[in-house]
């Protein structure tokens, strides 16, 4: 689904007209691809710095936001309100996240909840239902 028109080694975001390909965006997107965990903007910047590249924090924020808007990364909020980002698959999915290290596994939700979600919304007269299902726990490494 959602095949990119044309370009073969396509990077979907930043290919729209008026969007330029810069070193910073390449580096950020590349680094995100190496992290299985949800990470903060600060962590993205530090991780990139540790590899010798430097990107301004403002640029990290803007790029992450653009990627989130493009649907290329998922965003969630910690209980302190901080935003965490992760490069995820494109289809509908949920997460199993370690509360200690934020390691995350993508899950296909149980099919029954999709129905349940819709019928419950109908029952109470709500439209345009969306559902959020997140599992969290402690991974074997963090035991």
């Amino acid at each position: 689904m959602a095949a990119v028109a044309g370009k073969a080694l396509g990077d979907s975001a930043f290919s729209a007209p008026g969007q330029r390909g810069t070193r910073q965006r390449r580096v950020i997107r590349e680094w995100l691809g190496t992290s299985a965990a949800f990470v903060s903007a600060q962590q993205v910047r530090e991780g990139i710095a540790a590899k010798g590249d430097a990107v301004g924090l403002t640029t990290v924020y803007r790029t992450l936001q653009a990627l989130a808007d493009a649907g290329e990364v998922d965003v969630l909020r910690t209980d302190t309100g901080e935003a965490l980002y992760r490069k995820c698959g494109t289809g509908h999915h949920h997460h199993l996240t370690c509360r200690s290290c934020e390691l995350t596994i993508e899950l296909a939700g149980p099919p029954s909840v999709e129905k349940w979600s819709q019928s419950t919304a109908d029952e109470f007269g709500f439209n345009d239902v969306q559902h959020v299902i997140e599992l969290s726990g402690t991974c074997s490494n963090c035991r």
Copy 2:
């Protein structure tokens, strides 16, 4: 479950030894009881002010946090990171919330997901699983 020992017309929080019953706490808790929507600390203060009472914002924050710690209110984060609070029932439940006015209905989750949650966690070696299930939509009033 979690019956309060002794006191009959019990208010669970603020009844521990060393906890004092103040006007501010009474007013905040009372006002929360009248709101079916998730509300911010600011909104709590404004709502109380509109009824002629005045409570410092710091006190609102502290009281909401104490109530949350005591399990008397649920907390969730908006997509901007702001904390919203709601006086909910004590049992395990989920929410159907209007994205426009934050009106919220408490739901019993579909029994199947409780099992699914546990078995999925087991499968990936995660311990102490918790799950968050939130439905959102547009309520009939906000249509």
